[in-house]
C-alpha cells in the first residue's frame, strides 16, 4: 500500500533528473503501468467475502496530536485507486509526445496525492494528501501558458484552499471534542459525535457548524451549485489532458469525501438536512444541464456536463442519507449506483476531454462549436469513437453511463420519489446539449477549411481504445466492477 504511494512519488523525483522529455514520458508511462499493475493485483487480492477495510498499515506519526500514518482500502477506495491508475496514463498518453518533462513530473505527483487521499484513514494524513494535490494541479492548469489559465488556476487554488481550510477547522473541532483523527473510530461514534461536539463547546449547534464547515470544503471540490464557479474556467483553460485529470479524478475526491467523511460522521445531520441537501443536488443537476445548453465552447459544455453527472452521485448519496432505515434493496441500489457512476463518469468525462484535446490539436486551439461542421465526412473514425463517448455520457443503455444512472434513479425513486422525478429533467436536457454537439460538429456540410481535417492516428486510436472498450464492458456486464464494493 505504501509502495503504491511511493512509486509515483519517487518516480517523479527521478523523472525530474532525466535529460529529455521523451525519456521522461516513457519512464512516466512505465511507472504508471507499475501502479496500474499493483492496483489490479490489490483488487484481485482483496478478500471480497470478508469485505471491510483491508491491507491496513499503521504507524504513529505525531502521537501527541493523534496523527497516524494510517492507510488501508475497502472496495470503494479500491475502485477509486483503479480509476486513478487508469485515467492517469490515459491523460499522459492523450497529451501526445510533445509533453514536457515538468508536466510528467507534476502528473506523477498528482497521482501520488490522489493515491494518498484514497487510501488514508486518518484525517490529517488524508488532509495532507488532499491539499497536496492542489499544488501540481495548480501548476498543471497554468502550464497552458495563457493569461486566462493563470487566472483560472489561481481561482481554482483559492477556492479549494478556502474549502480545505473550512474543513480543517471542522476537524480540529472534532479532535478537541472526540480526541482522535482516526476516521474509522470517528465513524463508529456516529451519532454520539454530535453530542460530544455540543458538550465540548457548550453549544447545541456546534455539531451543525462543524458539519457545515466540512460540507463547504467538499461542496467546493465536487462541486455543488452554487460553489462551482471556479470549475468552467479551470476546465476550459487547462490543457485538455489536465482537464481529464481534474474531472476524471480530482472531482472524485469531493464525492469520496462525502462518502468517507460526512456520511459516516454525521448520519443524523444528513438525515435532518436531507431536504435542503436534495434540493442542492437537484439544483446542481438541473442548473448545470441548462447552463451547458447555453455554452458554445466544447470544453465549457463538457465542464458543466461534469457538474451535472456528479449531481446524480450527490442525489444518490443524499437520498440514502434521507432514509437511514428500511428499504435495504433501494439503499443498496443507490449506493452502488453512486459508486458505479463515479467510475463511469471518470472514464467517460476523461474520454470526452481527450477527444476535445485531439480536436484542439487539429484546429489550432479552436473549440467553439460554431467553428466546425460536417467533420464526420473527413474523420469518420474520430466521429464514431467520440460519438460512442457522447452516447455513454448521455446514458445510453449498453454503455457504461446507463447502469450507474439507472441504479441511482431506481434507488432514489423508492427512497425519495420526487427528487428522482425532478432529476429526470436533467437527463433530458443532457441529451439535448450532447446531440447539439454531434449535430454542430460532425454533421452538415463539410466547410472548405476542414476538408483536410485529419482522422485519428493509430497512436490516438490506441490511446482511447481501452476507454471505449471499458465503456462497453461496464455497460454490458457491470457486475465485474460492482462485485468490488457491493455488500451482500
Amino acid at each position: 500500500m505504501t509502495l503504491l504511494t511511493l512509486i509515483p512519488f519517487v518516480g517523479a523525483l527521478l523523472v525530474a533528473l532525466l535529460p529529455s522529455h521523451r525519456a521522461a514520458r516513457m519512464s512516466g508511462l512505465v511507472l504508471m503501468a507499475g501502479v496500474l499493475g499493483l492496483t489490479i493485483s490489490l483488487a484481485l487480492g482483496y478478500d471480497r467475502a470478508a469485505g471491510g477495510i483491508q491491507f491496513i498499515e499503521r504507524h504513529a506519526w505525531i502521537p501527541s496530536l493523534g496523527v497516524d500514518y494510517f492507510v488501508g482500502t475497502d472496495g470503494m477506495s479500491l475502485m477509486l485507486l483503479l480509476l486513478t491508475a487508469i485515467i492517469t496514463p490515459f491523460a499522459l498518453l492523450s497529451a501526445g509526445p510533445g509533453i514536457s518533462r515538468l508536466q510528467v513530473v507534476l502528473i506523477l505527483l498528482l497521482e501520488t496525492a490522489l493515491i494518498g487521499t484514497f487510501t488514508a484513514l486518518n484525517f490529517i494524513h488524508w488532509f495532507v494528501f488532499y491539499e497536496l494535490s492542489l499544488v501540481p494541479a495548480f501548476l498543471l492548469i497554468r502550464s497552458a501558458g495563457t493569461k486566462e489559465s493563470t487566472t483560472a488556476a489561481l481561482r481554482f487554488f483559492i477556492y479549494t484552499l478556502l474549502g480545505g481550510l473550512a474543513m480543517l477547522i471542522g476537524f480540529l473541532a472534532i479532535q478537541i471534542a472526540a480526541g482522535t483523527f482516526d476516521l474509522i473510530k470517528l465513524g463508529e461514534m456516529g451519532a454520539s459525535l454530535d453530542s460530544k461536539l455540543a458538550a465540548a463547546f457548550g453549544w447545541p449547534s456546534a455539531g451543525l457548524l462543524v458539519f457545515c464547515c466540512i460540507f463547504l470544503g467538499l461542496a467546493v471540490k465536487v462541486p455543488v451549485v452554487p460553489f462551482h464557479t471556479w470549475l468552467p474556467d479551470a476546465y476550459s483553460e487547462a490543457p485538455s489532458p489536465v482537464t481529464m485529470l481534474l474531472t476524471g479524478l480530482m472531482s472524485k475526491m469531493g464525492v469520496y469525501g462525502f462518502l468517507r467523511l460526512l456520511v459516516p460522521l454525521f448520519p443524523q445531520r444528513m438525515q435532518e438536512l436531507a431536504a435542503p441537501l436534495l434540493w442542492l443536488a437537484l439544483a446542481t443537476i438541473i442548473f448545470s444541464a441548462f447552463a451547458a445548453l447555453a455554452q458554445t465552447d466544447l470544453k465549457r459544455i463538457f465542464a458543466y456536463s461534469s457538474v451535472n453527472h456528479l449531481g446524480y452521485c450527490l442525489l444518490g448519496i443524499f437520498a440514502v442519507a434521507a432514509v437511514p432505515m428500511g428499504a435495504p434493496a433501494a439503499r443498496a441500489a443507490a449506493t452502488n449506483g453512486v459508486l458505479l457512476q463515479i467510475f463511469n463518469h471518470g472514464l467517460t468525462a476523461a474520454a470526452l476531454f481527450c477527444f476535445v484535446g485531439f480536436l484542439e490539436r487539429r484546429s489550432g486551439g479552436l473549440r467553439g462549436m460554431a467553428g466546425f461542421g460536417g467533420l464526420r465526412a473527413a474523420a469518420p473514425v474520430f466521429a464514431g469513437l467520440m460519438g460512442i463517448a457522447i452516447f455513454s455520457s448521455l446514458g445510453l443503455p449498453g454503455l457504461n453511463g446507463f447502469v450507474g444512472e439507472f441504479l441511482i434513479f431506481s434507488g432514489t425513486f423508492k427512497l425519495v420519489w420526487w427528487s428522482a422525478a425532478l432529476a429526470a429533467i436533467g437527463l433530458f436536457v443532457t441529451a439535448v446539449f450532447l446531440l447539439n454537439i454531434i449535430q454542430k460538429v460532425f454533421t452538415g456540410p463539410l466547410p472548405e477549411r476542414w476538408s483536410k481535417f485529419p482522422d485519428l492516428t493509430s497512436a490516438e486510436i490506441l490511446t482511447v481504445a481501452p476507454a471505449i472498450a471499458l465503456m462497453f464492458v461496464l455497460g454490458i456486464y457491470p457486475q465485474v466492477l460492482i462485485v468490488l464494493f457491493n455488500k451482500p
Partner: protein
C-alpha cells in the same frame, strides 16, 4: 434458442462495424444471412407456439430469466419470453426486415457508406427483436433506447444534409421526452412491485399478485398506482409510436434513406410503442377494461388517427403523405388497445406492417425511378414506366384504404371500428375513426392520381427498378393480400391464438347483424373516399395530358435533359410543372394551407418547448455569470477592499506607530550616542552633576 433471434443480427452489426468501407459485399451478405437465420428461427418459434397447449385458460408461455446485476442482497434479472403475442410479432419483424434489407442492396448501391448502412440496419433489427422478445421491462427499456439510437443513426444517415441531421436529433429528443415518462413508470413499477420481470412463476409484474397489489394502492393524485404507471409508460409508447403531441418527429424522419423509412414505419420503431402497450396491457387494465389509462389511450389514439389523416390530405411529398398515414394508422391501433382489444390492435399492426413496408418500398422505387424526386406534383403517369411498382403499390394502397374483402387492411380496420363501436364510454372515438378511414381513402387516391395517373410531369427519364427491389415488393404485396385470411371474422384465428381459446371456422359470423352494419358502413366510407378523391384529382392527369398532347414524351425529356445539362433553366419547367394549385386548395384555401403547414404543431413546439429550453439555458448561464460568479466577485472585491483597508491601517496605523517608535528610538539613540562623545571633561561634568544630585537626594531622604 430464441435468444439467438436478436443476438445474430446484433453480432452481425458488431462485425460489420469493424469492417472497412470497401468491404461492401461481405457486409451485406453477413447482415442478410444473419437476418435470414433469425427469420427462420422466428418461424420455428412461431410454429412452436402454434403447437403449444393452453394452460389453465391462459396461453402457453415459455421464458427464461437470468441475473444481470446484483446489488445489496437483491438480484436484477433480465429475461426472454415467447408467447403468442410476441411470436407473431417477431416473425413479422424479422421477415419484413429481411425483405427491406434485400431491397436496400439495390437502393443503396451507389452510397459510399454502404457498409455502415448495413451495420446500422442490423442493429436496428436486433434492438427491435429484443424489444419484442424481452421478458423484463428493463430489457425492453434497454432495447427500446437502442431502437432509438439506431433510428437516430439511420435517419441522420445522410449526415451531410443539415435537414437529415436535424431530423435525426428531433426524432431522438422527441422520443426521449416520452422515454423519461417510460423510465419513471418503470421505476415506479419496480418500487411498487419489486420486480421488472413480466412473468416469473407467479412473481412477475404482469402476474396476478403484483397486479392486484398495484391496482389497489392509490397514489397521491387519487388514481390507482397501476393507472399512474400505465400512463407514464404510455408516454414512452406515444413517443415511439408517434401519437399526438409527440408525433412531430415521424414525418421528418423520412429524411433518412427510404428503406429506413420503411423499416421505421413498418417493422420497427413505431410498432414498438403499440407493442409495448399490448405487452403491458394487464397493467393498463388492472382496474378494469375502462380504466383511466385505457380511456386516455383510446382518446389519444382516436384523436391522432383523425388529426394525422387530415394533415396527410394536403402534403405533397410522397413519403410525407405515407408518414402521416402511418401516424394515423398508429392512432387506430392505439384506439383498439384503448377500447380493450389487444387482438384487433395486433392484427392491424401486423397487417399494416406488411402493406406500409410495401408502400414505402414502392415509394422508394418511384423515387429511385424518377431520380430522387419526391414531390408528387412532379410525377405523374408512372404506371406506364413502372408497371410492377404500380401494381404492387396499388395493392398496398387498397390495403391501406381498406378496400373490401381481398385486402388485409379492410378486415383489420373493420375490426377496430367494430370494437370502437362497442366501447361503453363514448361513441365519439368511433366516429373519429370512421372519419379518419374516409380521409385515408381520399388522400391515398389523391396520391395515386398524382403519381401514377395522367402523364409524366418531371424531367428525368423514369425507369423501373431492378429485380432486387421489385421482388420484395411482390412478396409484400402477396402478404398484404394473404394476411386477410386469418383476419376475417369468419375465422378469428388471431383472437384464438392470442387468448388461447379454440376457434373454429364459422361463416355465420360474417352475416351477423353487428358485423354487417360496420362492414357496410366501412364499405360506404371507402367508396366515398376513393370516389371523391377520383372526382377531384382525376382531372390532374387529363389537364396536364391535354396541355402536352402534342409533344411526344421522349423528345420532351431529351430536351429537358439537354437544357439542364447546358445549365440554363429549363423552359419546359413551367408548362410541365404540376398544376400549382391543388383542387382541394381551390375549394377550401384556408383549411388547405393550415393542413399543408401541418396545423402548425411544429411552430407551436418551436414557440414553446424549443424556445423555453433556449431561454432556460440562457437564464442558467446568466445566473451563473452574474449571480453566482457575481457573489464570488463581490466576495473577492470585498476581500480586496478589506485587504486595502488593512493595508491602509498597516500603513497609517501600525506602520506609522511602528515607524514613529523606531524613529523615536533612533532619535533617542542619536541623542544618547551624542552624549558618548569620548571627551573626558564632558563625562566628568556629568559625573559631578550626578554626584551633586545624588548628595542632594540622599540629604533630602535622610532629613
Amino acid at each position: 434458442m430464441i435468444s439467438l433471434i436478436p443476438i445474430l443480427p446484433l453480432l452481425a452489426a458488431g462485425v460489420t462495424a469493424l469492417m472497412k468501407r470497401g468491404q461492401r459485399a461481405p457486409a451485406a451478405t453477413l447482415v442478410i444471412a444473419a437476418q435470414a437465420a433469425s427469420t427462420v428461427l422466428s418461424l420455428l418459434a412461431f410454429l412452436q407456439t402454434l403447437g403449444a397447449e393452453a394452460v389453465h385458460g391462459d396461453v402457453a408461455r415459455t421464458y427464461f430469466n437470468f441475473p444481470w446485476l446484483s446489488v445489496g442482497g437483491e438480484t436484477l434479472s433480465l429475461g426472454l419470453l415467447l408467447d403468442p403475442l410476441g411470436a407473431g410479432m417477431v416473425l413479422m419483424v424479422s421477415f419484413v426486415s429481411l425483405l427491406i434489407f434485400i431491397y436496400s442492396v439495390g437502393y443503396m448501391k451507389e452510397d459510399a457508406n454502404f457498409t455502415r448502412f448495413f451495420c446500422f440496419l442490423s442493429l436496428f433489427s436486433a434492438a427491435m427483436l429484443g424489444v419484442v422478445l424481452s421478458n423484463s421491462l428493463l430489457l425492453t427499456f434497454i432495447c427500446w433506447e437502442l431502437v432509438g439510437l439506431a433510428s437516430y443513426l439511420l435517419i441522420g444517415f445522410w449526415f451531410h444534409k443539415p435537414e437529415a441531421a436535424a431530423a435525426a436529433k428531433k426524432a431522438f429528443l422527441t422520443t426521449r421526452i416520452g422515454d423519461m415518462g417510460f423510465l419513471l413508470g418503470m421505476l415506479w413499477l419496480y418500487s411498487a412491485s419489486g420486480t421488472l420481470l413480466f412473468y416469473d412463476h407467479g412473481n412477475g409484474c404482469l402476474e396476478q399478485a403484483a397486479l392486484t397489489a398495484i391496482a389497489t394502492k392509490t397514489a397521491c393524485i387519487g388514481l390507482a398506482v397501476s393507472n399512474c404507471i400505465a400512463l407514464l409508460i404510455f408516454c414512452g409508447a406515444a413517443g415511439k409510436s408517434g401519437q399526438f403531441p409527440l408525433h412531430v418527429w415521424l414525418p421528418d424522419a423520412m429524411e433518412g434513406p427510404t428503406p429506413v423509412s420503411a423499416l421505421i414505419h413498418a417493422a420497427t420503431m413505431v410498432a414498438a410503442g403499440v407493442y409495448l402497450v399490448a405487452r403491458m396491457f394487464p397493467i393498463f387494465s388492472a382496474t378494469g377494461n375502462v380504466s383511466v389509462a385505457l380511456t386516455t389511450v383510446a382518446w389519444v389514439g382516436a384523436f391522432t388517427a383523425l388529426f394525422a389523416a387530415l394533415i396527410a390530405v394536403a402534403q405533397t411529398d410522397i413519403k410525407r403523405i405515407l408518414a402521416y398515414s402511418t401516424v394515423s394508422q398508429l392512432g387506430f391501433m392505439m384506439l383498439a388497445l384503448g377500447v380493450g382489444s389487444v387482438t384487433a390492435a395486433m392484427v392491424h399492426l401486423i397487417a399494416h406492417a406488411f402493406f406500409k413496408a410495401l408502400l414505402f418500398l414502392g415509394a422508394g422505387s418511384v423515387i429511385h425511378g424518377v431520380h430522387e424526386e419526391q414531390d408528387i406534383r412532379n410525377m405523374g403517369g408512372l404506371r406506364k414506366y413502372m408497371p410492377v411498382t404500380f401494381i404492387t403499390y396499388a395493392i398496398g394502397m387498397m390495403a391501406l384504404c381498406g378496400v373490401p374483402f381481398f385486402f388485409s387492411g379492410f378486415w383489420s380496420k373493420d375490426e377496430i371500428l367494430h370494437v370502437a363501436h362497442q366501447w361503453p364510454v363514448s361513441q365519439l372515438p368511433f366516429f373519429m375513426a370512421a372519419a379518419a378511414a374516409f380521409l385515408t381513402a381520399f388522400y391515398m387516391t389523391r396520391q395515386m392520381c398524382y403519381v401514377f395517373g395522367g402523364s409524366y410531369r418531371g424531367h428525368a427519364h423514369p425507369h423501373e427498378s431492378p429485380a432486387v427491389m421489385t421482388i420484395p415488393l411482390g412478396i409484400l404485396a402477396g402478404a398484404a393480400v394473404l394476411m386477410s385470411i386469418p383476419a376475417t371474422p369468419a375465422w378469428p384465428w388471431f383472437h384464438g391464438y392470442h387468448t388461447g381459446e379454440d376457434i373454429a371456422l364459422d361463416f355465420a359470423r360474417l352475416i351477423e347483424h353487428d358485423f354487417l352494419t360496420i362492414a357496410g358502413l366501412s364499405i360506404v366510407i371507402v367508396t366515398a373516399g376513393i370516389g371523391i378523391g377520383c372526382l377531384l384529382y382525376r382531372r390532374i392527369g387529363i389537364e396536364s395530358q391535354g396541355e402536352r398532347a402534342s409533344r411526344p414524351f421522349g423528345q420532351e425529356t431529351s430536351q429537358a435533359l439537354s437544357h439542364t445539362r447546358a445549365g440554363r433553366p429549363c423552359p419546359l419547367d413551367h408548362s410541365n410543372a404540376a398544376p400549382s394549385v391543388d383542387p382541394l386548395q381551390k375549394l377550401l384555401p384556408g383549411l388547405y394551407s393550415a393542413l399543408a403547414n401541418r396545423l402548425y404543431v411544429d411552430e407551436l413546439y418551436n414557440a414553446t418547448v424549443v424556445r423555453a429550453l433556449g431561454l432556460l439555458g440562457c437564464l442558467a448561464a446568466w445566473i451563473d455569470r452574474w449571480i453566482f460568479s457575481g457573489i464570488v466577485r463581490l466576495v473577492g472585491a470585498l476581500s480586496l477592499l478589506a485587504s486595502a483597508l488593512s493595508d491602509l491601517f498597516d500603513r497609517f496605523g501600525i506602520n506609522l506607530g511602528f515607524d514613529s517608535l523606531c524613529g523615536g528610538l533612533r532619535n533617542g539613540g542619536r541623542v544618547f550616542s551624542s552624549w558618548e562623545s569620548g571627551r573626558v571633561q564632558g563625562y566628568l561634568r556629568f559625573l559631578s552633576v550626578g554626584a551633586v544630585l545624588l548628595l542632594i537626594i540622599l540629604g533630602w531622604l535622610l532629613t
